[in-house]
Amino acid sequence: MNRLFSFIFITAVLWLLWLVLAGSLNAQEMMTGAVVAVLVTLLRNDGPCLLGGPEILHPRRILYAILYIPYMMRAIILSNLDVAGRILKPQVAINPGIVKVKTRLKSPVGRMVLANSITLTPGTLAVDITGDTMYIHWVDVESRDAEAASRKIAAGFEKYLEVIFG
């Protein structure tokens, strides 16, 4: 069941990628894309899909994944304006340092997405990750305590990622 699902899922993703790259929807392109997608999926090693089994298509998870996009966009824009203000001041206003942050997420993919999200929002940059501890370079250090820093930096993303990746 799990392997059948991951086969179908990966084939669908590859086929969609082919259609976007080909840029047309006529029958020949779609047929060629389907054949190539199935062939490539057969050629890969038959481990489980990286994201997990059929439970990733649970409606609640999909809803949170869709809600995550505007939340992320808002975070990126707000922090960009913040950093732009810092740059444009005559004397660059920064108070940098590397702080420790603990994450609640268990799954490796969830941790990777959390680290990438933290890196994408300016003002915070994931420097190193070991286990559930992340070391984050922060332009404006507001608290030296790991607990408070986690709440400030990671909690907003974690609320969504906990549901999406389980």
Binding site: L17, N80, P96, G97, A115, T119, L125, D128
Partner: protein, 131 residues
Amino acid sequence: MTMPDTPLNLIGAVLTLFGSMFLFLGALGIIRMPDLYNKMQAGTKATTLGNILTLMGLGLLMPGWLPKIVLIILFVLITNPISSHALARAAHKAGLPLAKGSVLDQLREDEDAIAAFEAETQASSGKGVDG
């Protein structure tokens, strides 16, 4: 190529203008910030937002191209944090110092603590073999 002044085209052009302003701010950031980590914060992240806005604006000028442009944005969003994280990690491991005004460096503290602990256990185990 001259574009007609339809509302959609105007929105796209304004988005492109805002995006290129962020690209410029990113380039200004890497000049003004004092050390590598802050440069990366201002430089490569502000340019990511600039990239998204510019590409979306240009996509609105050519609505038929949007799927491919969204694919480009997706690739940028995936690859950009990886490259800046890799560079920051390597620079910290190579011992590139933080800027003078930095308040704390808990990663360096923890690394030093681990190194001290390992040296201590090695010394004590060496003593044990001797004894």
